[in-house]
Amino acid sequence: MNLRLDTPRLVLREPDDSDAPALLAYASRNESRFARWEPENVDDLGHHLRWVRWRRAESAAQHGISLLALDRAVPGALAGVINLYGITGSPTFSAMLGYSLDGVYEGKGFAREAVGAVVAHAFGTLNLHRISANYHPANERSGVLLRGLGFVVEGYARDMLYLRGTWRDHILTSLTNPNWKPPGAVERDRRA
């Protein structure tokens, strides 16, 4: 039921209620880094608990998945959060990707490791055909991460997100799945 992905340095698993304090601490300690790209942190445990419960409901409905990336070397250390939103079947077989990373883990390949595992899961197990991801033009780290994973720039959306009182532009990128199988083929594989 609960998805878990393993990478060399990280364990990715779905959040539960008791992760809410760690998520609040994560948002708080990264507030100055996230300020340019993320909605304002709400210093309220209930807010983060509601987020966990919303993501679990989305997961149960197969509309989305959120995964906490936990450092294998430091038990309990939340290194990042990876989200798939709007998982859609025929005819687009697509989802939107979002992610954030703790400042301590920045620049060491952790984001690539975590996002790469989620992309592999989305293209493999979920058999999605397209993952789109958008980033702020000034967020060069995010652009480098996406290009490194093969995402291709598809456009530039003006005033796409309303964050902290202003509209933000975003660069639109996507990655398509070269090994995507038509649904019938998946069924045949399962029977075989």
Partner: protein, 182 residues
């Protein structure tokens, strides 16, 4: 869906869903409790219209099956808004759970009114809504809230980590749960 005008009666309180006409009472409630609520609650609107919007929003959330908000009134003084009790954050799989939250008027504090209102809501959640587990978050500095949850049978299962230097960024808060008696 969850409710069609829920109304609960306790020894000293009537709990019911808010209607448009409650907006002035809600505004007065938030204004007279402003200083008490400030450390724990987001700032409430200062116009009657904002409270009318809040009522409409809670009604919409209730009709969508996402929440239930009840106003508690004093049976001995029917105009007196004693407190607000809410359920939201419902999950249905793998278990039916919800989040409980509450506020109580300063004049009614320390006399068991919050407990009475919460107990009625908890009984409704477990018995009528078939909720299996309730959870609630509270500020560790809000000793009254922690004490209330303990008396209501809640147990703390997780707390925000204590990180030196981060006190100004993050309030110490805890998550408590109470399962339905089997």
């Amino acid at each position: 869906m969850l409710s069609d005008g829920v109304r609960l009666a306790t020894e000293r309180l009537i709990l019911r869903e808010a209607v448009d006409d409650d907006a002035p009472a809600l505004l007065a409630y938030h204004l007279r409790n402003q200083e008490r609520f400030a450390p724990w609650e987001p700032k409430a609107g200062t116009e009657v219209a904002q409270h009318r919007q809040w009522i409409a929003w809670r009604r919409k959330e209730t009709d969508a099956g996402n929440a239930l908000t009840l106003l508690a009134f004093d049976r001995a003084a029917p105009e007196a808004l004693v407190g607000i009790v809410s359920l939201d954050g419902f999950t249905r799989t793998p278990r039916r759970t919800a989040m409980l939250s509450y506020t109580v008027d300063g004049a009614y504090e320390g006399k068991g009114y919050a407990r009475e209102a919460c107990e009625a809501m908890i009984a409704y959640a477990f018995d009528v809504l078939d909720i299996e587990e309730l959870n609630a978050t509270y500020d560790v500095a809000n000793a009254r809230s922690g004490g209330l949850l303990a008396r209501l049978g809640f147990t703390v299962i997780a707390s925000t980590p204590v990180i030196p230097g981060m006190e100004r960024l993050m309030r110490a808060q805890s998550l408590a749960v109470r399962a339905r008696a089997s």
